[in-house]
């Protein structure tokens, strides 16, 4: 969809044209789904959250000023919705070795003993270990680390997606990284 087509759809959608709303839904769906699945809070259904974001966007088209591209505006709504959901979750202060599965403990052992990258077979365990480490962070810091290190977005892209300033992103990333380092060190100390 080109910018002109999006603008036309938006104008028709604001007037209540169902066909235009449907076109916008299909246009934004892949973007919303990708963001929600990457930042999905635990115990939350991705489909429910995607639906919630899409309805929010479709119902508030009149609030879109056009100062940023439509998909950026949609991203901010998606990110804020995910953040609000994550805020309801309890934060775990730290991960202990006893909380890890055998595979996750093996990942730590590999990281500490060998300088090589992890095998593809260890990807799932690495994923779960990262999730456990991230659970100790504040919701916004957790989201930022996921966007930065797991999705591979740079500071500028994160600023567009979240609406946060570049300085705030850098400060948050630094603080979150320090927390992660501390949690990881605690795990390492427990490893025999």
């Amino acid at each position: 969809m080109t910018d002109a087509e999006v603008a036309e759809c938006l104008a028709r959608g604001r007037d209540g044209d169902e066909k235009a709303i449907l076109e916008l839904f299909h246009y934004m769906y892949p973007h919303v789904a990708k963001l929600v699945q990457a930042n999905l809070p635990a115990k939350e259904s991705a489909e429910d959250l995607i639906q919630k974001v899409c309805i929010k966007v479709m119902s508030h088209l009149d609030q879109f000023s056009g100062k940023v591209p439509f998909l950026h505006w949609v991203s901010r709504i998606a990110v804020n919705t995910c953040l609000n959901q994550i805020r309801h979750e309890k934060r775990r202060p730290e991960v202990r070795l006893a909380d890890l599965s055998e595979e996750e403990a093996n990942v730590i052992e590999h990281l500490t003993t060998a300088p090589t990258d992890l095998d593809a077979s260890e990807q799932m365990a690495a994923n779960e270990l990262v999730d456990k480490l991230l659970n100790g962070l504040k919701p916004a810091d957790r989201l930022l680390i996921k966007l930065m290190y797991l999705d591979g977005h740079n500071v500028q892209e994160i600023a567009s997606l979240t609406g946060w300033s570049r300085t705030l992103i850098k400060v948050r990333a630094f603080r979150a990284r320090a927390h992660l380092r501390k949690h990881y060190l605690l795990l390492m100390k427990e490893t025999p």
Binding site: K34, A38, S59, L111, R177
Partner: protein
């Protein structure tokens, strides 16, 4: 680079999920989203309860303001009538 940072970076690299490819809306999601959008439009098109409540408050205020002089007069009347009566009595006593 700090060895801890290096290990964390390798951990993040391994945890990166491969691109899930094309996202297609699952069956039913589109219908549910459109139904919710329609319901939202119907709600905003019908009576807005907030406006109704504000209208009620304004009406009560207007009623109160218009009744205030009457109520005020009623509460002050007995004293003023008493004083007026006293004045009348005095005046009538001094009448030659």
């Amino acid at each position: 680079m700090n060895p801890i940072d290096d290990q964390l970076n390798r951990l993040f690299r391994a945890a990166r999920k491969p691109d899930a490819g094309e996202f297609v809306a699952p069956f039913g999601l589109e219908t549910r989203a459109m139904a919710a959008w329609r319901a939202g439009r119907l709600e905003t098109g019908s009576w807005d309860m907030g406006v109704l409540a504000r209208g009620l408050v304004v009406a009560i205020l207007i009623m109160g303001a218009s009744m205030w002089p009457v109520l005020h007069k009623t509460t002050t009347d007995p004293l003023s009538e008493y004083l007026q009566a006293s004045d009348t009595t005095l005046a009538s006593d001094e009448t030659p």
